[in-house]
């Protein structure tokens, strides 16, 4: 069997890990705020945050390309001030992935926080604990299944993205050519054998990831005594 070029997979997983980590830090306070607020602006923020789910990736990719390129004020600012290009490189991919996968991190976390018993949080405040202490010691440990879902689904969704990645990153080997783009190119040049191998690996990895989430969640429900 011929040697497989693992670079696209490594790139995909590097991109997904970094995106998941950054999005966790960004989405956590927003999810918490949305779950606790009574602000009338909540539906607007929720609608904006969910847009990447319904928008065609090409639309998102187009706007991001427009906003991050050197011709836009933002792109020009970053290039002139920090010397960083925001498109057609790995940095651009991370930024684009953070937009693309944001709702997949936000929604499970928000749902988890909203399902928490409000009295339990109030009991923590009455015990003298701050919002941050309550979030870390009470809220997060009590939404473990939602937490795991948000992390895994964000990771998997980023590994699986294609349209946005292609528009923002192109297909530069070792820089922006992730697994999904590599498969597209194999199909384009009619190298079906490689396309099969790459797709098979993606299929297997995705299945293992999802299976572990469901296994953990059913085990967790049993442990804390909730019949599903």
């Amino acid at each position: 069997m011929m040697a497989l070029d693992m670079e696209p997979f490594i790139l995909s997983f590097k991109l997904a890990s970094l995106t998941t980590f950054i999005l966790f830090l960004i989405a956590l306070p927003i999810a918490w705020w949305l779950s606790q607020t009574k602000c009338r602006c909540k539906p607007f923020i929720e609608a904006i945050a969910s847009l990447p789910i319904v928008l065609p990736p090409s639309v998102l990719g187009f706007y991001l390309l427009y906003a991050l390129s050197y011709n836009s004020p933002l792109g020009a600012f970053f290039e002139e001030t920090f010397g960083i290009k925001l498109i057609f490189n790995f940095t651009g991919l991370v930024i684009a992935s953070c937009f693309y996968s944001f709702p997949f991190m936000l929604q499970p976390l928000q749902g988890g926080f909203e399902s928490l018993n409000k009295n339990m949080l109030e009991a923590s405040y009455i015990a003298g604990k701050s919002t941050l202490q309550t979030l870390l010691h009470v809220s997060l440990p009590n939404i473990k299944p939602a937490l795991l879902t948000s992390l895994i689904v964000t990771f998997a969704h980023t590994v699986g993205e294609f349209g946005v990645v292609l528009m923002i990153g192109g297909s530069i080997p070792g820089e922006t050519k992730v697994a999904s783009v590599a498969i597209y190119e194999f199909v384009e040049v009619m190298d079906y054998e490689m396309a099969h191998i790459y797709s098979g690996i993606m299929l297997l990895l995705s299945f293992i990831v999802l299976l572990s989430v469901y296994l953990f969640n059913s085990h967790h429900k049993k442990r804390i005594g909730i019949s599903s």
Partner: protein, 282 residues
């Protein structure tokens, strides 16, 4: 000494209602808050705890908790709160629930011993019965040694036997910790056993305020004429004795003579019946 003068507009099932309560509470009092559901009992507790906003003033031991400028957050009020649904931290063991409130291992052990929970200290809340959960919740509320203990229908979800045990626990902890306690309750026998002052709330206003005997005995008037009850108290009044008896959710007085009064003691289970009268139908 707690001084309370608050008002708040509430939006209940019967439309808008204005809660207005003016009240002075003495230190070490045990107050029972009673009244129809939706009359504002829980809201008063939540305002006292700082969990809900309100207009007016609250001062506790000459310290302002609420006025036009100040609204002390719940973290700074140093109170204990027992929720109807226990609200335990599900991710922590029984002992961790207590230690999260205050890192005082000695006090935690003492409280768990008092409430017979020591053997369960490493269990998770989801493995406990309702009565055990509520005892944990009570212990947790006392970990900060609060001066003010608020309880929102703490025993309403429990069976009668467990209630009795917890009523005993609540009373002994109230005395030991020297708390001023305010408890929402619907159960007259519970109120009679625990409280020294009863407030009855209706549509956001206090309509009755007095000792349990003054307030509760007006609620008698069951039309049944043979029932099981428990003697709560035997009072000597001039030449006669009056037994205060809890029958289901009612409190009644029965007159006893000298000999009968010696026959019974507080806590006895008795059958109250009468034959020589014609029941009226209305």
């Amino acid at each position: 000494m707690i001084h309370l003068d608050i008002s708040k507009a509430l939006f209940g099932s019967e439309g808008t209602m204005s809660l207005h309560v003016k009240l002075d509470i003495k230190e070490y009092d045990f107050i029972a808050l009673s009244g129809q559901s939706g009359s504002g009992k829980t809201t008063i507790l939540r305002i006292l705890a700082g969990l809900e906003s309100a207009k007016g003033t609250i001062s506790v031991a000459n310290k302002i908790w609420l006025n036009e400028k100040i609204a002390l957050p719940p973290q700074k009020r140093g109170i204990g709160f027992v929720f109807q649904d226990y609200a335990l931290f599900e991710n922590m063991s029984v002992e961790q629930n207590l230690l999260y409130a205050a890192k005082d291992k000695g006090l935690a052990t003492h409280l768990l011993e008092l409430t017979d929970l020591k053997a369960l200290k490493n269990r998770l809340p989801s493995t406990l019965s309702g009565g055990q959960k509520q005892r944990v919740s009570l212990c947790r509320a006392l970990m900060n040694r609060p001066k003010l203990l608020l309880m929102d229908e703490p025993l309403s979800a429990l069976d009668p036997k467990m209630r009795l045990k917890l009523q005993h626990d609540i009373l002994s902890l109230h005395k030991e910790f020297g708390t001023t306690t305010i408890m929402v309750s619907h159960d007259p026998s519970e109120i009679y056993r625990l409280a020294n002052r009863v407030l009855v709330l209706d549509h956001g206003k206090i309509i009755q305020d007095g000792t349990p005997k003054e307030v509760l005995l007006h609620q008698q008037g069951s039309q049944k004429f043979s029932f099981q009850g428990e003697i709560l108290d035997i009072i000597k009044a001039d030449v006669i004795h009056i037994a205060i008896i809890a029958i289901a959710q009612q409190i009644v007085e029965v007159i006893l003579d000298e000999a009968e009064s010696k026959l019974y003691k507080i806590g006895d289970s008795v059958c109250v019946s009468t034959k020589a009268f014609a029941p009226t139908l209305s």
